[in-house]
Amino acid sequence: MAVIETENLTYVYGEGTPFRKVALDNVNLSVEEGELVGVIGHTGSGKSTLIEHFNALLRPTSGNVFIDGERINWDEKKTLRDIRFKVGLVFQYPEYQLFEDTVYKDIAFGPKNMELDENEIDRRVRETARLVGISEDMLTKSPFDLSGGQKRRVAIAGVMAMEPKVLILDEPTAGLDPKGRETILEMIHHYHREKKNTVMLVSHSMEDVAKIAKKILVMNDGRLFCYDDTKKVFERADELNAMGLSVPQITRVFNRLKEKGINITEDVYTVDFGKKLVEKVMEMKK
């Protein structure tokens, strides 16, 4: 079943001012439940604007958004909060929204707003802390005393603890070192496998997306360029290049090898898979 659907979704910033900007232009898409979707597109293509519609933070200029088959009704403010619990959104640089005096309280902020009972809140906080690799003794620390990467994980845990049906993350790896990126990605992948929930991951890094996403959604200048399996999307390397995107480095390497006449039939978009393939080819040559 489709958990997120949009119908002719259009959004305009600054209507009626000289800064008018069409950020989303007639977007129609449908995301199935349990999917792990990568969202890519060049800067300013409308990715953030799109996902802010999914949990009713932005009101469409025209068109509709359906969550779980139900149309978001903007005239009933009360229902909007329920949608926000259903679709958890982690903003870019989420560490800047930490505010409580302990990590524990900050992760508990969302669940508390859901008016869960104490035991349930406690369970969720501890479980998500474990999931994102925040140790027990860190829970009593001030979030402002943590390192950048740790803060980021606490902030993500704050949204995960609401156990949303759909988890959306806007560039969760931005500004981290390779190891930090790896940790966050692994954590998201792990969350997806454990919870079987829908996850959407906005990212500038094709490598990151290729590594974990099953499907890819490509935005281009406010329009939906395509939404398809990872493999199918990266097959369109030329078109992606034309809109200022790329395919993962490893894919480029293997595409060149194919051009040189090496007999490779599969498409490669992760280093691990590439490695296996190379080993196989070497094996055959012996």
Binding site: P18, N55, L57, R81, L89, Y96, Q97, L98, F99
Partner: protein, 269 residues
């Protein structure tokens, strides 16, 4: 949303009003304010409004923006109106109840004051609509520079204003972002008692302050790295120049203020 705050918001354009020297615009605004305050009659006030309307027409600021600038001061307008209505006692009594009485004089004064305040706000808004904040502080610095002689830190104050102005949109944007992020975590800011709503601001204010301090620190560091050391001996990238159009503008507004004075002297209304 918070973005709707417009006082002090620049509305870019290419009109003559936009291109006037900001110092001259500052001067014209002062002249305009004086004009409103020496106008004692409706006709005098009307002349001031004609001047304002003409300036707005030339600058091509949409009507919507003008209305927006008045919106925040509606309570003040109503308050002034009511005060004048009850406490002015000249003229014939029209209605009388308890200790209050409404007279022809009080109605006249109330209406007069309301028009004056609205004209004042709309007029000063024109300055900020057509002048970028940076140009404006630049102009203020130049106009006040004689005060350096008496050891007033004019440059530093102007720099502080420039920085403050520069960061207003950034902070507004940041507030919006943080608000959205906390809303996404289910923060409820629109319902409940006053105390509950005030408490709901904490998750927004704390991150906002933290980031404002972080920004301030970064900015200070960046300025020091570029050897900023205050106004002493600094030259400007953009020099301000008075052009012919500035002369015309001063001339026209001088004519208008003269007109207002004459109207008041003749006192035909």
């Amino acid at each position: 949303m918070i973005k709707d705050i417009t006082i002090g918001q620049f509305f870019p354009g290419q009109s003559i009003v936009h291109r006037l020297d900001p110092r001259i615009k500052l001067l014209l605004t002062v002249i305009y304010i004086v004009m409103l305050f020496i106008a004692d009659t409706f006709l005098g006030l009307f002349a001031g409004i004609v001047f304002l309307a003409a300036a707005y027409a030339i600058s091509q600021i949409p009507l919507k923006m003008i209305l927006k600038s008045v919106k925040p001061i509606v309570p003040l307008i109503i308050f002034t109106g009511i005060l004048n209505l009850f406490f002015i006692t000249t003229g014939e009594t029209l209605i009388k109840f308890w200790i209050f009485k409404i007279t022809t004089g009080s109605i006249k004064t109330a209406v007069f004051m309301i028009i004056r305040i609205i004209a004042l706000i709309i007029g000063t808004s024109l300055l900020t609509y057509t002048t970028s904040p940076i140009a404006l502080t630049d102009a203020i610095e130049r106009v006040l520079s004689p005060l350096k002689k008496i050891k007033l830190p004019v440059h530093e104050v102007a720099m502080m204003m420039t920085i403050a102005l520069r960061f207003i949109p950034t902070l507004v944007e940041e507030t919006d972002k943080i608000t959205m992020a906390q809303k996404a975590r289910g923060a409820d800011m629109e319902s409940g008692s006053l105390i509950k709503r005030a408490k709901a601001l904490i998750p927004i204010l704390i991150p906002l302050f933290v980031s404002a301090f972080r920004r301030a620190e970064e900015l200070a560091m960046a300025m020091e790295c570029r050897c900023y050391h205050g106004g002493e001996g600094r030259t400007r990238l953009k020099q301000l120049h008075c052009a012919l159009r500035d002369m015309y503008a001063v001339f026209i507004s001088a004519a208008f203020i003269a007109l207002v004075i004459i109207i008041d002297r003749v006192n035909i209304f």
